[in-house]
Structure formats: C-alpha cells, structure tokens
C-alpha cells in the first residue's frame, strides 16, 4: 500500500513537472520565428504566396529533403541547436503599419518568438523593425526595398534583399546599355529616343522612395524627367493619373505599383491606346504570378525588375530544384518576391546555426558575421553578408521582360544583367493593339 502511494506520488510529481516545464521534456525543441505578411486585404494574394514560400523553406530545413543541393536540405533541423525545428508563426498585418507594430509586440511578448521576419510593405517593415529594436529582438527583412530602411542606424535589423537604389541603378544601366548597343538583340539607339522619362509611383514609403531614387539616377545618367506622379494605390480610378502620364508623350514610362493598381494602370493605359518605347515596373505588382495570370498577353514587352526569374535555373541548379518543389506544391513558379522569402527563412536558419543559441545577443553577433555562400542560394547573388547598416552587400537585381511565346503564352525572360540575358529584348515596347 505504502509502495503504491510512493509510486503514485512520483507519477504526480513527474506529471506536474511536465506540465510546468514542457520544454524540459519536449522531444524536439522548436524555435519560433514571427513572420508578418499581408494575408488579407488588397495584398492578400502576395501574402499567401510569400507564406507558402516561407513554409516550404522551413520544411526543407526541418526535414531531410533529397534532391536539393543546399547543405541545409540535409540538416533535418538546426544542427547546432540539437536538431531544433524552425516554427514560423504567421501574423496578418493587412498592409497597415500600425497593425504591424501591434502584431510585432504581440509576437515578441506573447508568442515569445526569438526573432521576426517580413513584412513585405516597406511602410510596415518600418514600424515593425522599430518595435523589434525597442525590445532587442532581431529582425531579418526579406522583401522590403525602401533604401531608407537600413539608413536608420538600427542594431537589430538586417535586410537580405538589395534595395531600390541598387535596382534603379540597374534600370539606368539598362537604359544606358540600350543607347550603347549592349542589349541582346537590340541595335544601339540614339539617346534622344529615350530621353523623355515619366514615372508614376504609389505614394507610401516604398513608392515615394522609388520616385526619389529615380530622380537621383536620372540626373546622374542624364535623362530628363518630364512627369512625376505619386498616386494612391487604393484609388478607385486611375484615369487622371494615366492621362497625366500620357500627356507628356514619354519615351520611358516607369512604375512602382502594387498588384491591384498595376492591373488597373495597364488596363487604363490600354484603353487610351498609350504608347511609349520603354515600359518598366519596379517589381511588386509587376512580377507577381497573378500579374500575368490576370493580364495575359497584355503584358507582352513589359519590363520588371526582380531578383529571381525561373529561367535562372539554366545557370543555377539549386534554383531549379527549389522552384520545382514549389511549383509541384502550388502550381506557380517562384517569383522575385517569393524567392526572397525562401532566402529570408534560409538566412534565419544559417544565423541560428551559427549562433548556436537563441539568445538575442548571440543571434545579433551571428547576423553581423554571417556569410552565406553563393552556391547555397536560389538567387543569382554572390551570397549573403551584411554591412554595418544591416544591408546585404552581395545581392544583385535582374530585369526581366514578359514575352509572348509562339503558343501565345507569356514567359519572363532575363534582359539584364547583359551576360545573363536569356532572350532578345523586345524594343520598342509593342503597346496594345
């Protein structure tokens, strides 16, 4: 009787300990990372795609994945943390900066995440990173490109993607290349065919910073900006914006638009029979899978800056392998945005592995010292290595062009950098007939 009581006593003690300190007895440790994306509202489509890419990457890291030639695919968890699994906790900021900040606080205080990732919209990343900074929690930003974000002297913020200054420089290099005959399949054009530049950018943090950056480079490269438009991406009608653009008969039209406004803008311009020589979009709306799915062949000849084009698989094996996994699961190719989400989660895994701890200080140190080799990335980058501001200095951009194939489908071909070009550029922009 006494013996049974003792056994019972120890069982009760054991169970209560288990209840009080589950991590002590947990079979597998997990590391929580808070990921903020726009999962509802006007940007829900991109949020969903980003979430899918992030989840797929976490799966690759957490389980041994054959057929992917990246070391992390054979890890089955974070090696230096005893095989701990990465658990992504998603939060929906709906594209609202104040909501993003609230959610970040909740993720840090309630969900006890070891770090943050996101938030796609630069405006939201700005407020989220401010919260992370205040709490001393590391944030790795995968896909916000406003240059200002890494100019704020933050100690807990790192960005893997190149920013808009780098992309806009690429744009002007391409324009310059056109005048010098460097572009595949296009003879040199006199500069006065491209001199007259007009832009329309959405008017939040991201679009206005793109506008500012375009201004700077136009001056540097000697192009003349004849129309500057900042517009509200949630406007029910963009006719007046499109009219204003067309009114100056620009040779070059540049856009920084999210998805809904890019669709509306192109439809509106088409209705006006607008014509120009060079039609370029700054990523975001222009390079999403839904952009082509929705507009179809109306996108023929449209250029977009990006960081990833499925055709990169021709020169980069791992890009093709990860893309194939994604495509098999979700039916779409990876895009510049979703591929950056892959790199974001991957960077988190490498950083955690290097830190060998979930202590914020250790992670901070690891972030500052991390150096991910080019071969491990799906991107055509030289690697991931942060400078003192937290900006990855080894990233680079691509410029792609949507081109109609013989079968009437649309392919995204690489046009810039010139040495990676996969097709002749269509120039001038064919317009909508």
């Amino acid at each position: 009787m006494k013996y049974r009581k003792t056994v019972l006593f120890f069982i009760v003690v054991f169970l209560s300990l288990l209840f009080l300190f589950p991590p002590l007895f947990a079979q597998e440790k997990e590391i929580r990372i808070g990921v903020l994306y726009p999962l509802s509202g006007a940007a829900a489509t991109i949020g969903r795609d980003l979430q899918r890419a992030a989840e797929l990457t976490a799966e690759i890291i957490n389980n041994k994945t054959p057929g992917v030639d990246i070391p992390m695919a054979q890890w089955g968890g974070i090696p230096n943390l005893g095989g701990a699994k990465i658990k992504l906790i998603f939060a929906d900021h709906r594209g609202e900066p104040d909501r993003g900040a609230d959610l970040a606080k909740r993720l840090i205080l309630d969900d006890k995440v070891v770090g943050l990732m996101g938030a796609y919209h630069s405006s939201v990343t700005k407020t989220v990173s401010a919260v992370a900074e205040r709490h001393g929690i590391p944030m790795i930003n995968d896909s916000s490109t406003s240059p200002e974000l890494t100019k704020r002297g933050l100690k807990w913020f790192w960005r893997t993607t190149p920013h808009d200054d780098i992309f806009n420089k690429d744009l002007f290099e391409l324009l310059k290349g056109l005048t010098e005959g460097k572009v595949k399949g296009v003879k040199a054009f006199p500069k006065d065919q491209l001199k007259n530049v007009a832009y329309a950018c959405e008017n939040t943090e991201w679009g206005s910073s793109v506008a500012k950056s375009i201004e700077g480079f136009a001056k540097e490269y000697g192009f003349n900006i004849t129309k500057r438009i900042l517009y509200n991406a949630n406007s029910p009608d963009l006719t007046s914006e499109a009219k204003a653009l067309v009114s100056v008969k620009p040779d070059v039209m540049l856009f920084a638009s999210y998805l809904s406004d890019s669709l509306l803008m192109i439809r509106t311009l088409k209705g006006m029979k607008a014509s120009t020589n060079f039609f370029w979009g700054q990523d975001a709306g222009f390079e999403m899978a839904d952009f082509v799915k929705t507009l179809g062949t109306d996108t023929n000849g449209v250029l977009t800056r990006t960081v990833f084009i499925a055709k990169i698989a021709k020169v980069k094996k791992v890009a093709g392998q990860v893309n194939a996994l994604y495509k098999k699961k979700y039916g779409d190719d990876l895009t510049g945005a979703t591929a950056r989400s892959v790199v974001g989660v991957q960077t988190w895994a490498y950083v955690l592995n290097k830190a060998g701890s979930t202590d914020p200080k250790a992670i901070q140190k690891a972030c500052n010292e991390i150096n991910i080799p080019a071969n491990d990335l799906v991107m055509p980058w030289a690697g991931v290595k942060f400078d003192a501001t937290g900006q990855n200095i080894l990233g680079r951009g691509l410029i792609g062009q949507y081109q109609k194939t013989k079968e009437g489908m649309i392919d995204l071909e690489i046009i810039y950098p010139f040495e990676l070009a996969t097709a002749n550029m269509i120039y001038p922009f064919p317009g909508w007939k």
């Binding site: 509802s40 509202g41 006007a42 829900a44 489509t45 969903r48 008017n203 129309k227 500057r228 438009i229 900042l230 517009y231 509200n232 949630n234 406007s235 029910p236 009608d237 006719t239 007046s240 914006e241 009219k243 204003a244 009114s247 998805l259 809904s260 669709l263 509306l264 439809r267 509106t268 088409k270 209705g271 006006m272 029979k273 839904d290 799915k293 929705t294 507009l295 179809g296 109306d298 909508w432």
Partner: protein, 295 residues
C-alpha cells in the same frame, strides 16, 4: 482641350459613381439605415458578371440582367433575413448589423472565390477604344456611363411615375402617415432593398468590364458612394446623380489642371482631397446636401 477631355472622362466615371451610390441613398431615404454592406453588393455584382460571362461564354454586357437579378435577390434576402429584425433594435444595432453583413459577404467571397485578382478578358467592348477627334474613349467606360444613365432614368421613372414608386416616396417622406394611408411599410422596405441591390448589381456588372475583381473591392467604391450620398443629400435621387457627376469630374479635372499649370502640388495624389474638401464645404453651408431635404 485636355480639360474638356478630362471633363468628358469625369462625366463617364461620375455616372458610374452615381449609380453605385443610388442604391445606398434609396435605402437610406426609405429606412434611415446606412447599408455598410453596399460595397459588398457591388463586389457580388462584379463576380456575377465575371462568372456568368465565363461559364456561359457570353459577352459580359449580356450578363447585366443576371447581375441585376442577383442584386435584387440579395437585397430582398438581406432585408427579410436580417434587416427586418434589426429594425426592432436600437439604431446602433442597425449599424453593427449591416457592418456584420459586410464582413460576412466579403469573407464569404474570399472563401468561395479565393484571393486571386480576376479580370474579364473577352468581350465585345473589352480592349477597344473609340477615337473622336483628339478624344479617345475606352468603349467599356463609355458603355458603363451610358448604361448607368439608362439605369438612373429607369429608377427615376419608377419612383415618380408608378404607384409603387410613389408609395415608396411617401414612405420615405413620412413612414407613419404613409402606413395610415394603407401603404405597407414592410413591403416598401423590401422594395427599397431590392432596388438598392439591383442598381448596385448593375453597377458591379458594368464595372467588371474594365475593372479587376477582388473580394475586398467594395470598400474602394463605397467610400466614394458615401461621399456622393452626403454631398447630394440624404434620400435625394437627383442629389446623388449630380453629386456622382461632381465627384467624377472633380477627381478627373483637378489633376489634369494641375498638370497643365505644371504644379506637382496639384497632382493626382490629392485628387480625393479636393472631392472631400468640396463635401466639407457643402456640408458646412448646406448640411442637408445639395438637394437634400431630410435632416
């Protein structure tokens, strides 16, 4: 020339804005209820046109009767299943009730149709433009403007020339007196919701010809519709018509004017500031709106 062009384009958009706002105003006029779900009715009209034209492989313009019918049924169903019960509660219940309906319809659409953006690719007028001298009109917008005008004329005729329409107006002016005269308030309310749903259904069908379709699209237009209703006068059909036109013209002419005088300050990013400024001024000097008579 650019200003005349902007004026014409503004009128086309304005007619559509007015049609969107019309249903909102009729419901408010008759029942004193603000229908927050109005934008979602619009969204459902758009999806109706999209799916009908896609599945039956017919021109999107031919689907307008279907969109109108779906709108009418939606209006009636909303009234009999929800609004009628809300009327028994305090005013705040009506506010929350239609707000709840808005969320329900929005997320139901998201659940059923997903969060992908859709655009109608095929249609008689889609992608075609009409050039008259220096002016270029998108055929879909031209058709939307003209058909909106017809829809408006039809509703105006119905309200002023038919017995039911007059009864509806009587209820709108004085519910109690109308019911003493033997007009059934309940029936009138249902008719108001039917017209409200039907007109916004047509507006959605027209809009779907040149606009992208998305579960949360309603909010973009319903804000404008609220401004039109307040600007034109609560309950006034004439008012909402002119207010819609005014909003359309202001948002189109203002940025073009700014562009002519080469001012970045008068750019398109402030176009709705001007619209709401006009609203503010009118509300200060004429609180009942341009043609309103209700307090």
């Amino acid at each position: 020339m650019a200003l005349i062009d902007a004026l014409l384009q503004g009128i086309l958009m304005g007619l559509l804005f007015a049609l969107v706002a019309l249903g909102l105003n009729i419901i408010f006029g008759v029942m004193n209820i603000v229908n927050f779900a109005h934008g979602e009715f619009l969204m459902i009209g758009m999806y109706t046109t999209y799916w009908t034209s896609l599945l039956l492989d017919i021109d999107p313009l031919l689907t307008l009767p279907v969109a109108a019918l779906v709108g009418v049924l939606l209006g009636i169903a909303s009234y009999y299943s929800l609004i009628r019960y809300l009327l028994r509660g305090p005013a705040i219940a009506q506010l929350f009730g239609t707000f709840g309906l808005m969320l329900f319809l929005r997320y139901l659409a998201q659940f059923l149709f997903g969060i992908d953006y859709r655009i109608i690719q095929k249609g008689l007028l889609i992608g075609k433009s009409l050039s008259i001298g220096p002016f270029i009109f998108d055929w879909t917008k031209l058709a939307a403007g003209i058909l909106s005008l017809f829809a408006f004329a039809f509703v105006y005729y119905f309200l002023n020339k038919t017995k039911t329409g007059k009864a509806l107006q009587a209820t709108s002016i004085n519910k109690e007196a109308a019911s003493y005269m033997g007009i059934k308030t309940d029936k009138m309310n249902a008719i108001a919701w039917a017209i409200g749903g039907g007109t916004v259904g047509i507006a959605g069908g027209l809009l779907a010809n040149f606009y992208y379709i998305y579960p949360t699209i309603g909010i973009l237009f319903v804000m404008i519709a609220f401004a039109c209703v307040a600007l034109g006068g609560f309950g006034s059909i004439k008012g909402v018509f002119f207010a819609g036109l005014l909003v359309g013209i202001l948002e189109m002419v203002f940025p073009v004017f700014g562009s002519l005088v080469n001012s970045d300050f008068l750019g398109p990013h402030f176009k709705f500031t001007i619209v709401y400024l006009a609203y503010f001024i009118i509300v200060v000097f004429r609180p009942q709106g341009l043609f309103g008579w209700k307090n």
